[in-house]
């Protein structure tokens, strides 16, 4: 088990987004979280990636706790623990959030260089390898605005993969893509899963979820139902 969520709750003021939800994700598993707009799918994803802090419950990623319940008090990971956990869980944003002033190579190398993951040469060759496997060869020097939506998404995936995450989350990966690019993204997701990366996809695209997921989590009225496939 790479990720386990137990009794997680989150509300914004009086608005309960989700309450007491638990699920787990195994190595290489593809999990889709679906539900209507406003059901809290993205908030759940943001809690898993430490962009939001849950109110209750625990999140464990690769045996490290992002937060845990400790005698009725929630305890969050300390700064240095958080940095280690963040490297285990990546996120591909709906609008990718590439750094517009950096070219593709710089986008990929920024975080591993900052975190001193490896030598510059090794980081660069890892980036080249990733770009090749995501069919982005020759785009190293391009800036995000020069790329198509599908290419930008693949750069965002490559950027997240640079940190060798155990879990990779996608927020609405098919929302901006045409039929052909959609096929390409499912191929990539399957490829990443075959490499052992657990995948969590938030989507309201039921056809896509049915096609790709090994487990489907449906969010409704702050609760979840899990259906294995």
């Amino acid at each position: 088990m790479v990720l386990s969520v137990e009794n997680l709750s989150k509300s914004f003021g009086a608005n309960i987004v989700f309450h007491d939800i638990s699920f787990s994700v195994n190595k290489g598993e593809i999990v889709c979280i679906r539900g209507k707009s406003g059901e809290g799918k993205t908030t759940l994803l943001r809690c898993l990636t430490a962009l939001e802090t849950p109110d209750k419950g625990s999140v464990k990623i690769n045996n490290m706790y992002l937060c845990k319940e400790d005698s009725n008090h929630i305890k969050y990971a300390q700064k240095n623990e958080l940095q280690a956990i963040r490297q285990e869980i990546g996120l591909v944003f709906q609008n990718f959030n590439l750094f517009p002033h950096m070219n593709v190579m710089e986008n990929l190398m920024e975080a591993p260089l900052f975190l001193k993951k490896d030598s510059r040469e090794n980081i660069k060759s890892r980036a080249e390898e990733l770009l090749k496997s995501l069919e982005l060869e020759g785009k190293e020097d391009s800036y995000p605005f020069q790329l198509s939506g599908g290419q930008q998404q693949r750069v965002a995936i490559a950027r997240a993969c640079m940190l060798n995450p155990s879990v990779l989350c996608f927020d609405e990966p098919t929302s901006a893509l045409d039929e052909q690019t959609r096929g390409q993204i499912s191929k990539i997701i399957r490829y990443l899963s075959s490499k052992g990366i657990a995948i969590i996809i938030v989507t309201h695209d039921n056809a896509f979820a049915d096609e790709i997921a090994q487990k489907i989590i449906t969010m409704k009225d702050g609760k979840i139902t899990i259906e294995p496939k």
């Binding site: 002033h101 605005f145 997240a160």
Partner: protein, 218 residues
């Protein structure tokens, strides 16, 4: 007559140019980095810090620079406990830097606010520190966005330097005034007007160049 005017004006104007350009350069070099710090303080979650910075900006933007110059030179030493008799040069630098920092800070604040929150979130998810995110991800994008507004202020600053006359400093406009008084001629003002235009032309070119430098991305 005109030859006499020029013979007197040129050396005085050259001396004055040192003051004009000196005040301009020192103000710019000091207030731009300070303004980024002030903008960050103004945006601080700590209400006290944000309020104090807001008050400072309000005072600086709400009173004339001329008055600020006068206060710092003629008035500040009378303030009990913290008063200090600044020299003319010190008063000029302090007033200009305080004033321009406030204007630049508001421009930077707008620029920082204009950056998509996703840029911060992406950096956070990638494990970049807050400082690294600000310096390497946010600030370069802010600079591109604020360049046109900063350019405007930079040009205003050149002209504002003429206010130093109030403390008895001799800039190029003061040179024109002195020569005009001696020869009862208006032409010195025309010549100095041309000097201002030349300085602004050079600056405009320079600012365009900097703006173009950031054109490589959208």
């Amino acid at each position: 007559m005109e030859a006499k005017v020029l013979r007197m004006l040129v050396p005085m104007a050259l001396e004055g140019l040192k003051v004009t350009l000196g005040v301009f350069a020192v103000t710019l070099i000091m207030s731009l980095p300070l303004a980024i710090v002030v903008a960050k303080l103004r945006m601080s979650k700590n209400k006290m810090i944000s309020k104090i910075t807001g008050t400072y900006i309000y005072i600086m933007r709400g009173t004339p620079l001329l008055l600020q110059l006068m206060f710092i030179f003629f008035g500040y030493y009378r303030v009990p406990y913290i008063g200090y008799p600044f020299s003319r040069e010190q008063a000029i630098v302090i007033a200009f830097v305080l004033n321009y920092t406030a204007y630049f800070a508001e421009i930077f604040r707008g620029g920082i606010n204009s950056i998509d929150v996703g840029q911060n979130e992406a950096s956070q998810v990638l494990g970049l520190s807050k400082t690294h995110t600000f310096m390497k991800i946010i600030l370069p994008q802010v600079i591109k966005n604020v360049m046109p507004s900063i350019g405007n202020e930079v040009i205003t600053l050149v002209k504002d330097t003429s206010l130093v006359y109030i403390l008895g400093s001799s800039d190029i406009l003061k040179a024109a005034r002195s020569v005009s008084n001696v020869y009862a001629a208006f032409s010195p003002y025309i010549y100095i007007g041309i000097v201002y235009l030349v300085i602004i032309a050079i600056l405009t070119k320079l600012l365009d160049k900097i703006e173009n430098k950031y054109d490589y991305y959208r």
